[in-house]
Homo-oligomer: 350 residues x 2
């Protein structure tokens, strides 16, 4: 079923996942298309961004943002077209970044919208990634917390993902040695051949730690952490004194229901922080750096215009495929930034 | 046996401790007093500082400093008097801070010495603590990494110790709410009544976590970590967003030989760093802040002169008691900064 003018498809969270989400946690329903009132806009979703952080919001554990409500449409960043406008600042046909969520149509009063104009319209979906939240996360985490210096070694996990691929490329632009970590040979080849990383290690190999050591002969100065789990345990012994660890995600742990049993690695981590004088810092991009979006957007747009960045999307057609694509993403099945093409007839895309 | 003019008592590391050190790891021997050559000084030790970091140097695990050598005299900071000088910058009777180690006499070529002059001579031993390494650690870790703001809550472990007692008092001077954690009721009372902390929780109580929660009703903004272990697990859930954790010691883990078994708390810690956007940073005072000693010394001397700081030493007489005092310190038996009075007849002390 494709997007129609007559009704609004929505994906509803029907129950909270316990561990990995399953298709039973989601339901597709159909509602009438809403009508904008005075000062409102009707937005039609073209692209929906699917991101690991959403797994956190499906649980009701205390977190930095409100959980999604059971029975409600799932939230998420979207690129949308203005279908009807009763708002003085927007007219029909405008492209915007919105938080319309997992549905075809949404009303907006204009707050929080970001109008897309100029070169970004060549790839409107990039406003959700390279020139949007995930690129912003990569840019600020690497440059502000990681503070990489020419000649230093930067290691990034999920190396071909929406954040990791950008972290590594910016680190290369800054003159660093970059070693990625990714799942599978194909992704590793891509990181080296297309993204220009110096090396990429397959985390599915048993000798991950040895491989990493071999390809970081001068140790690791910056580890951009967006994965957690066993990758972290392989990285820690290689961290150099005064190393920096920006931490923006822990996808390996998002589906965990209990703490792992066995050895408690916490004292090891604390000991490393002390002995190596590490700086470990978590950040939530919009809360910590919201006021620096323009700086990021300007610099990143310039790099894009100069063809200095490669970016890969994993595009999945049709809203009804979003739950399966999301479940797969948490298992590492996507290759590139996962985006749902919700409107198959979008005007203006090239 | 007291300090003599005729021979040099020394405490030798005869074997590396496995787990907690025992008296069998140490041996007292006696050597001739060395004679200074051209450009050298003979220093007579008056006070020897005993500090938790020394436990790390008794092992040969990779660390930020060289381990002590087996068969050699143990190293350590000392306050000493110049007995003989063949060095143009020093004369007999000068007081200095030196790294003479666990012995009565040491030669020096003047490098790394710090001459004591003026008001600090009222309490020469404070040059090893309040106005020396431990005070410097407290000052820089709290102010530079912790960055406490008026009205914020600062929690400090080992609250009556050489570092913790100073951290808490500086935080009070900066207008913070200060809650200490210490071992036993006597220490807790001291922290509240003498050091002026708002509260102090006994970490030996079963309800440590609840007590801490009750006395930090607005959460914790800065946790000055110098202990590790279970105290950390009680603090973590109370950390506020954008909280800071300067980390300068992990005495609870220093005697550990294996990682604890049971749950792996590492994902919990990483998750908290992410969700709460914490900054966790290790530091080694002289390596990270060596160039700011003067700033510290000037400010701290002023607070001391204005009677705004209380400081307690745990003074133990005679060098031969150093091993037992050191072993006890790692068990929390000291109450205040542990110092060995090596010279019982020291001139100039008041």
């Amino acid at each position: 079923m494709s997007q129609q003018k007559e009704h609004n498809r929505r994906v509803i969270l029907v129950s909270r996942p316990h561990g990995a989400p399953t298709s039973a946690n989601f339901r597709l329903d159909t509602q009438p298309v809403p009508t904008p009132g005075e000062g409102e806009l009707l937005l039609r979703t073209v692209y929906l961004s699917l991101d690991p952080y959403m797994r956190g919001r499906m649980s009701d554990a205390p977190s930095y943002v409100e959980p999604f409500a059971v029975g409600d449409v799932l939230g998420g960043g979207t690129v949308a077209i203005v279908e009807q406008s009763q708002h003085p600042d927007y007219q029909q046909g405008d492209w915007v970044v919105s938080q319309s969520g997992w549905q075809d149509y949404a009303l907006s009063d204009g707050r929080g919208l970001f109008k897309l104009q100029g070169p970004v319209l060549k790839h409107p979906s990039w406003a959700l990634s390279l020139l949007g939240m995930t690129g912003f996360t990569a840019y600020m985490g690497l440059l502000d917390i990681g503070n990489p210096q020419p000649g230093e070694t930067v290691v990034v996990a999920a190396a071909t993902g929406a954040v990791g691929s950008v972290v590594g490329q910016i680190a290369k632009l800054k003159g660093c040695r970059v070693v990625g970590i990714a799942g599978g040979e194909e992704k590793c080849r891509y990181a080296m051949e297309k993204l220009g990383f110096d090396h990429c290690v397959d985390h599915r190999r048993d000798d991950l730690a040895q491989q990493l050591k071999q390809h970081c002969p001068d140790g690791i100065d910056v580890y951009f952490e967006n994965v957690g789990g066993k990758v972290f345990n392989a990285v820690l012994p290689l961290m150099n004194s005064k190393g920096r660890i920006p931490l923006c995600g822990l996808i390996a742990d998002y589906n965990s229901t209990d703490l792992p049993q066995g050895q408690d690695h916490l004292p090891l981590f604390q000991g490393a922080i002390l002995r190596k004088r590490l700086r470990v810092q978590g950040f939530i991009i919009n809360q910590d750096y919201g006021d620096r979006f323009e700086e990021f957007f300007r610099q990143m747009s310039q790099w894009v215009a100069e063809d200095r960045l490669v970016f890969r999307e994993h595009m999945v057609d049709e809203l009804e495929n979003a739950p399966e694509a999301f479940i797969g993403m948490l298992e590492g099945k996507n290759f590139g930034k996962l985006v749902i093409r919700v409107a198959m007839d979008q005007p203006g895309e090239q």
